[in-house]
C-alpha cells in the first residue's frame, strides 16, 4: 500500500515542496528513508515510531520505505515528521486515503505524540498558498498569515487522525499561549536635548537614509538608534509577508497574529560572523541579521569593531536589497532591504571630535579610522556627531517631542516623496535628484563653496542633496526647489569621517 502526503522544507527564506511517499509492504520488518534526509530528518524514523505507538496506534510490523521526493535535494529539519507519520498510518490502512487528499502537512512530533512547531512554517505554506495546510497549533498564526485557504491546527498526532477521520474538530489557535503583552517601543520623548541628533533620526526615518552616529561613549548613540523603528510606518503588505517568511525561516519568535507588521530592529553584536550577518549554514541556509532586518533597521554598534569581511558582506545587501548565498549544489537569495544605523567612536579614546581633547596618537587614529572602508562610509547619507547632552538638559530639561508626533510628520514626508518620485529620497537617482532636488541660488552657491574648499566630494554632493530633499519634505516644502536653509542643515549633518578627515 502506498501513501503520498504533500509537505515542504525550507532553505534560506523559501519553501520547497516535498512529497512524502510511504510504502508499507511485505518483507522483513524495517524502516528505510530515502531522498537525502539530513541527520535531524533521518531521526524522524524513531520519533515517528514512538509517536505512533504513544498515540495508541499499532506500528505496522512490515517493510516500510519512505521516499522524500524530489530525491535529489537535501531535506533538513524535523518538519516532515507529521507527513511521515500520517503517511505510515495511511499506508497501513489506519486512515482512509481520501481523508488526506489535497492536504499539506508540516510539523514535528514528540515521542508522546504531541505536535511541535518548526522554524519556517510560513515559507513552507507559501509553497502553495491556495492549498489546505495542517500545522501544529503553535505555528497556526504564521501559517494563517500566509495561507489563503484553510489552515488547520492540531495539538497532537491523535488529534490529527481524529480530525481526518471526522471524529473530532481541528484545534483552534490557543490565544492564551501567544504573547499578548506588547512591549512598549522606546519613545523619542526620553531623548533629552540633542536637537541635531533628533533631527537626523527624523530625516533618516522620512527619507530612508542610512545613518552613521559618531560620538564618544555615553553620548546616547544606542538610545537614539533604538528609537528609529518607532518613527517608521507599518510595513506594506508585501514587505510584511517577506519579513514574516524570513523570521519564520530563521526560527525567530513572531508577533501575535503571525505577521511581522512593524519594522524589525536587529542589533548584531560586533563579534558576529559573516554567516550570522548575511546568512549561512550548510543546507538550511538560515537567514542572517541583514535579512532579519528586512523592512526595518539594522543597527551596528561599535561598527569599527566588526570584522572587515562582515561589513563588506553587508555592502551587497546595501546595494541591491538582497543577499545571495551560494553553495555547490544551490544558491539562495534572501531579501535584505534594511535601513542601516552605524555607531562608532571617532577614535580609540572616544573624545576625538571635541577640539583639543583627543589623546590618541596619529597612528592609532589612522588604524582606527581605516577600519571603516571608504565605500561603506559612503553609503551613509547622514553622518552625525552625537555629543553628550548638557547636564541641565539631562536633569532639568523637559521631555522631548514624542515619537507619535514625529511619526506623523515622517509619514507625511514619505507620502510626499513617494508621490513625487515613486521612491524614498534615499533612493533617488541622479536624474531624479536633478529634477526634484534643485537647490535654490543661495544653496547652490553654498554647495559650490563647500566643494571648492574640498569639504564636499562629488558623491557627497548627491548625498547632501538627498538629505536636503528630505529636510524640505519634513518642513512641508514639497516643491522641486530646495531652500538654502535645508542645504546648510544637510551639510552640517554630514560630518567628515575617517580617511577624509584632516587635522593639523
Amino acid at each position: 500500500m502506498i501513501a503520498n502526503i504533500a509537505s515542504a522544507t525550507v532553505r534560506g527564506a523559501h519553501g520547497h515542496p516535498v512529497t512524502v511517499e510511504v510504502h508499507v509492504g511485505a518483507g522483513l520488518p524495517g524502516f528505510t528513508m530515502l531522498g537525502l534526509p539530513d541527520e535531524a530528518c533521518r531521526e524522524a524514523r524513531d520519533r515517528v515510531r514512538a509517536a505512533v505507538l504513544s498515540s495508541g496506534f499499532d506500528w505496522p510490523d512490515r517493510r516500510i520505505t519512505v521516499n522524500l521526493a524530489p530525491p535529489h535535494h537535501r531535506k533538513t529539519g524535523s518538519g516532515l515528521d507529521l507527513a511521515i507519520a500520517i503517511g505510515v498510518l495511511v499506508a497501513a490502512q489506519r486512515i482512509p486515503p481520501e481523508a488526506v487528499g489535497g492536504l499539506h502537512m508540516v510539523g514535528e512530533v514528540g515521542l508522546d505524540g504531541a505536535l511541535h512547531p518548526v522554524p519556517g512554517v510560513a515559507p513552507m505554506v507559501a509553497v502553495d498558498r491556495d492549498a489546505d495546510w495542517v500545522v501544529p497549533v503553535g505555528s497556526l498564526a504564521e501559517a494563517s498569515a500566509v495561507g489563503r485557504s484553510r489552515v488547520l491546527g492540531a495539538t497532537c498526532l491523535a488529534g490529527v487522525v481524529e480530525a481526518l477521520t471526522g471524529t473530532a474538530e481541528w484545534a483552534d489557535c490557543d490565544a492564551g499561549e501567544s504573547d499578548t503583552a506588547v512591549v512598549d517601543a522606546p519613545d523619542m520623548r526620553d531623548v533629552r536635548g540633542q536637537p541635531v541628533a533628533r533631527a537626523a533620526l527624523e530625516v533618516a526615518a522620512a527619507g530612508g537614509h542610512h545613518l552613521l552616529l559618531v560620538g564618544s561613549p555615553g553620548s546616547g548613540k544606542t538610545m537614539l538608534a533604538e528609537r528609529l523603528c518607532g518613527l517608521l510606518p507599518d510595513l506594506t503588505a508585501d514587505v510584511a509577508l517577506e519579513a514574516t517568511m524570513i523570521h519564520s525561516a530563521a526560527g525567530e519568535r513572531l508577533p501575535t497574529g503571525g505577521l511581522v507588521r512593524r519594522p524589525p530592529f536587529r542589533t548584531p553584536h560586533h563579534s558576529a560572523t559573516l554567516a550570522a550577518m548575511v546568512g549561512g549554514g550548510s543546507h538550511h541556509l538560515r537567514p542572517g541579521a541583514a535579512s532579519l532586518a528586512h523592512g526595518g533597521v539594522l543597527f551596528c554598534d561599535e561598527m569599527g569593531q566588526f570584522a572587515p569581511s562582515v561589513l563588506d558582506g553587508l555592502r551587497e545587501a546595501l546595494e541591491c536589497g538582497a543577499v545571495t548565498i551560494g553553495r555547490v549544489e544551490h544558491q539562495v537569495t534572501v531579501p535584505a532591504r534594511f535601513q542601516m544605523i552605524g555607531a562608532t567612536n571617532p577614535c580609540p579614546c572616544g573624545e576625538g571630535l571635541r577640539p583639543g581633547s583627543c589623546i590618541c596618537d596619529e597612528r592609532a587614529r589612522r588604524r582606527y579610522s581605516q577600519r571603516l572602508s571608504g565605500p561603506l562610509l559612503d553609503r551613509f547619507d547622514l553622518r552625525v556627531a552625537v555629543q553628550r547632552p548638557d547636564t541641565d538638559h539631562l536633569l532639568g530639561g523637559s521631555d522631548g517631542e514624542c515619537s507619535a508626533v514625529i511619526a506623523g510628520r515622517v509619514e507625511a514626508a514619505r507620502t510626499a516623496a513617494l508621490q513625487r518620485a515613486g521612491v524614498l529620497n534615499a533612493h533617488l537617482d541622479a536624474v531624479g535628484l536633478d529634477r526634484h532636488a534643485r537647490p535654490d541660488a543661495d544653496g547652490a552657491a553654498r554647495l559650490r563653496t563647500e566643494i571648492d574648499a574640498g569639504r564636499l566630494t562629488g558623491r557627497g554632493y548627491h548625498r547632501v542633496r538627498r538629505t536636503a530633499r528630505t529636510l524640505a519634505d519634513l518642513a512641508g516644502e514639497v516643491g522641486d526647489v530646495i531652500d538654502d536653509r535645508h542645504v546648510a542643515t544637510a551639510v552640517a549633518m554630514r560630518v567628515s569621517m575617517g580617511a577624509e578627515r584632516g587635522r593639523g
Binding site: 536637537p195 541635531v196 541628533a197 577640539p355 583639543g356 583627543c358 553654498r446 546648510a488 567628515s496 593639523g504
Partner: protein, 376 residues
C-alpha cells in the same frame, strides 16, 4: 671608516642611552669607541651595568658604519659630532646635548646666529590654538627669530608654517631618522624645511618614530631654545615635558592662556599656576628675549569683516557664543536661541568667510588668541 660614520653607527644601533653615548664620545674618538664597542670592551671606559657591553657588541655585530654613513649621504644628512666645530654652538653647552646630531637643510651655524624660540603644544589643538601658534611663529620669524618645534600635527606644524610664512628660519627637531617623514601628513612641510630650513635629529637614517623617542627629543628642543612658548597642552601632554626640561635649564617658559573649560588648556593653565609667564602678544616673547619690538609685525591684526546678514541674523550670536571655546551645533542652537537650521546656515556662512572652523560636529573660532586679533 670616518669618525662621523663610527659616531652615526654608534648613535643609531648600539642601544646605548643618549647619556652613556655622550660620556663615551666625550672621552674617546668615535673610531676608537667603535673598536671597543664591537669588541665588547666598553665597560673599560664608561660605567655600564653587568653584561651591557656584551649586548652592545652583539647589536653592532651586523652594523657597517660605512653603510650608515652612505645612507646619511644618500639623504643629504650631515653628521655632527659633539665637540667638533660643525656641532651647534647653541646646543653644545647643554648638559644633555646629544653626542651626535643629524641635520638636513641649512648649515647648523645659521641657528647659532639667530635668537631662538620654541613653540610647542598639543597635537589635538583647537583651531584657535593652531591659529595662535601660526601667528606667533609668523611674527617671531618676521622679527628675525628662529622658531624651533617638533613637526607634530597641531601646534607644532602650525608654528612651523607660520615661521615659513614669516620668511625667517624654522627649526624642526624630530624623534626618528631624517630619511623618513613622520607624521606622513606633514610630508610637504618636511620637504620644504629640508630644503630651506633646518631639520635635526639625534638618530641616524633607518630609525623609526617609536613613542619613547619623543620625550627624549623634547630635551633638544628645550636645549636649543632661549624661550619656550606653550600654546595648548593637556595635563598629560608631551609639551609639559619640554616645559619641564626648559625650567631645568633656566629657560623661560611662556604660556598662551586658554579657557579653563577646554581640556587643551588644562596643561597650560597648570603652568600658569606654577608661575609661567603669559603670552598675549608677540611683544611678550620679544621682551622675554630682551629685544625690543621693531615694528615688524607681519600680519596686521585681521578684523573680521562684519558678519554677513542683517542684525536679526544669527551670525553675530554664533560668533559670540563661540568666544568661550568650541561648541557643538546643539549647544549653539541652545545658546543662541535659534533653530538648528538657522545656526547651520550661519556656521556654513562663517566657515566660508574663514572666521570659524567646523569639523566633526564641533564649531570653533579660527582666530588666533593673540591680543588685537580677537573677533569683535
Amino acid at each position: 671608516m670616518s669618525a662621523e660614520a663610527a659616531a652615526a653607527a654608534l648613535a643609531g644601533f648600539s642601544g646605548l642611552a643618549p647619556r652613556s653615548l655622550r660620556r663615551l664620545l666625550d672621552v674617546l674618538a668615535p673610531s676608537d669607541a667603535w673598536e671597543l664597542a664591537v669588541r665588547g670592551q666598553l665597560g673599560e671606559v664608561v660605567e655600564l651595568r653587568q653584561g651591557r657591553a656584551r649586548e652592545v657588541a652583539e647589536r653592532l655585530s651586523g652594523v657597517d658604519p660605512d653603510a650608515v654613513a652612505a645612507s646619511c649621504a644618500a639623504s643629504d644628512i650631515n653628521v655632527l659630532v659633539h665637540g667638533t666645530r660643525a656641532y651647534s654652538a647653541a646646543l653644545s653647552d647643554d648638559p644633555e646635548a646629544p653626542a651626535v646630531l643629524f641635520a638636513r637643510g641649512q648649515p647648523l651655524a645659521r641657528i647659532d646666529e639667530l635668537r631662538r624660540v620654541a613653540i610647542v603644544g598639543t597635537r589635538s589643538a583647537t583651531a584657535a590654538g593652531r591659529a595662535t601658534a601660526h601667528d606667533l611663529g609668523h611674527d617671531l620669524s618676521a622679527n628675525g627669530v628662529a622658531v624651533v618645534s617638533g613637526l607634530a600635527i597641531g601646534v607644532d606644524g602650525a608654528a612651523h608654517r607660520g615661521a615659513l610664512d614669516g620668511g625667517g628660519l624654522a627649526v624642526a627637531v624630530l624623534a626618528h631618522g631624517l630619511d623618513r617623514c613622520y607624521p606622513e601628513r606633514h610630508r610637504h612641510l618636511f620637504e620644504q624645511m629640508c630644503a630651506d630650513h633646518v631639520v635635526l635629529s639625534e638618530w641616524p637614517p633607518g630609525v623609526g618614530p617609536e613613542p619613547w623617542r619623543f620625550p627624549l627629543r623634547n630635551r633638544i628642543i628645550a636645549g636649543l631654545a632661549e624661550v619656550v612658548v606653550v600654546v595648548e597642552s593637556r595635563v598629560t601632554g608631551g609639551s609639559l615635558i619640554t616645559a619641564r626640561a626648559a625650567l631645568d635649564r633656566g629657560v623661560d617658559v611662556l604660556v598662551v592662556p586658554g579657557s579653563p573649560q577646554m581640556p587643551a588648556s588644562e596643561g597650560t593653565n597648570m603652568l600658569l599656576r606654577d608661575g609661567a609667564g603669559v603670552v598675549t602678544d608677540v611683544d611678550d616673547v620679544l621682551t622675554a628675549l630682551g629685544i625690543s619690538h621693531d615694528g615688524c609685525r607681519g600680519v596686521a591684526p585681521v578684523r573680521p569683516p562684519g558678519p554677513p546678514g542683517s542684525d536679526a541674523s544669527p551670525h553675530g550670536d554664533v560668533v559670540a557664543a563661540l568666544a568661550d571655546g568650541p561648541a557643538t551645533l546643539d549647544t549653539l542652537a541652545a545658546r543662541t536661541m535659534h533653530s538648528v537650521a538657522d545656526v547651520a546656515c550661519a556656521v556654513s556662512d562663517l566657515v566660508g568667510a574663514g572666521l570659524v572652523v567646523a569639523e566633526g560636529g564641533w564649531v570653533e573660532l579660527s582666530m588666533s588668541r593673540l591680543s588685537g586679533q580677537h573677533p569683535s
